[in-house]
Amino acid sequence: MQSFLDVLALSSAALLHGVAITVAVSAIAVAAGLVLGAAFGLVLTYGGTVMAFPVRVIVDVVRGTPVLVLILACFYMPAGIGLSPGPLTAGALALSVFCASHVGETLRGALLAIPLAQTDAAGSIGLTFAQTLGYVLVPQAIRQIAPNLVNTAVEIVKASSLLSAIGVGELLLTTQEIIGRSFKTMEFYALAGGLYLAINLLIATGGSWLERRYRLR
């Protein structure tokens, strides 16, 4: 019987590849989620009833649905209209929409919490509404939600493990394959857990560094 270290040596390349997929798909989801989420948040807050309604439906459905269901839906449902996205595309899409819904809702809350007096003050020096958003309201909202955004990024990394269900070769699926061959169940689940923890600690540390760097608090 092989020792844990022997198996680790043999499978380290596969594990690193799994980590890379986990990090890459999470990064794509967070980046796309921030952009889309910012749009969601602005439309929800200032879009008026008609424009905000479809976004409200998307956000509520996504937030009210288990992430796994969302992932399976993104993978299997496009077949109904003749599309067949690969697991990685479908997974990245599901996580992006999940991330965007959380960012959108959080941004809306933060924007609504800024006193109207700030809008008055910006208007009184002659800023247009778009300038008021860009230079006064959004910067304040971002400072407010920065810790929340870091949490969302951590949630996305954890949720990316669910992509193993549709066959994306990320960290969890890779780990399960190694266990399937070597039967070192305890060791490799512990290792996978440690790697997830390490990724998330890096995100948290990087987040607080950024907050200090840009005086967000």
Partner: protein, 254 residues
């Protein structure tokens, strides 16, 4: 000489409650007009209408002859676009009761924002102008502080610098000392007095009767959305004619 600000028959209601009821007022260059009256008399609403922060139902406001906030479209009265409103607002300055500084920007950046984004000056020039105005209000040594790190009086002086840096034709001040601790009121009043001496045209809503008397060239008393008496501050405040002004002044004295 043409007045800087002309208000004619200004009328505004919130629901069935008429907050402004046919206000007429002219402000000439160099005038310091103090607006006094009880809470709910319409003073602040009048100021906010002039700064185009509130819409109004009828009447007109002109700044240097230009119709403010609305245009006439085939006899119909239409609110101007956001961009037009912003352009008109940039020609007036407003200082608010609760300062309303931008908390994420330093004092200097608060003053610079309008210069770089509205007047589109290069950063170096905007910085020079902002430093000049912060110096004028006695805060050259606080320019890199965030609003949360300075006193209320200092914040209000930054707000005054922020408004003046835009070189407004008219400065509107809305109870600018009401939110301040008593010991901080004088530094702000002194700043305003210096501006008055330098010829800044101002429309001031205030509850400080002594200040109104000392600093203004004209005092206007409002009650229930209308102007009841106006004229020389010493006469308005010293020899009130109407019963309502007499009652108001005696209530302020107590």
């Amino acid at each position: 000489m043409e007045p800087i600000l002309t208000i004619k028959d200004l009328t505004k209601s919130f629901g069935t409650h008429r907050v402004l009821d046919g206000v007429d007022l002219d402000v000439h260059a160099g005038d310091v007009v103090s607006l006094i009256g009880a809470s709910g008399s319409g003073k602040t609403t009048l100021l906010r209408c002039v700064d185009l922060l509130e819409q109004f139902d009828a009447g007109e406001i002109r700044l240097d002859g230009e119709l403010m906030g609305y245009r006439s479209d085939g006899g119909r009265r239409m609110r101007l676009s956001g961009r037009e409103l912003a352009r008109q607002r940039s020609r007036m300055g407003m200082v608010f009761q609760s300062y309303n500084l931008f908390p994420h920007l330093t004092a200097l950046r608060n003053v610079m924002l309008g210069l770089t984004k509205v007047r589109r000056l290069p950063a170096a020039e905007a910085r020079e102008i902002a430093e000049h105005w912060l110096d004028r209000v006695g805060l050259a040594n606080r320019q890199d502080y965030y609003p949360s790190a300075i006193s209320g009086g200092q914040q209000q002086r930054v707000a005054i610098a922020r408004a003046l840096a835009m070189e407004p034709r008219l400065l509107l001040l809305d109870e600018v000392t009401s939110a301040l601790d008593p010991e901080l009121v004088q530094e702000v009043l002194l700043t305003i007095r210096r501006l008055a001496e330098a010829g800044t045209t101002m429309l001031i809503v205030t509850h400080e009767m002594r200040f109104a008397r000392q600093v203004s060239t004209r005092t206007v008393f409002m009650d229930q959305g209308a102007i009841v008496e106006e004229g020389d501050p010493a006469i308005i405040l010293g020899e009130p004619r109407s019963r309502r002004l007499k009652e108001f002044l005696s209530s302020m004295a107590n």
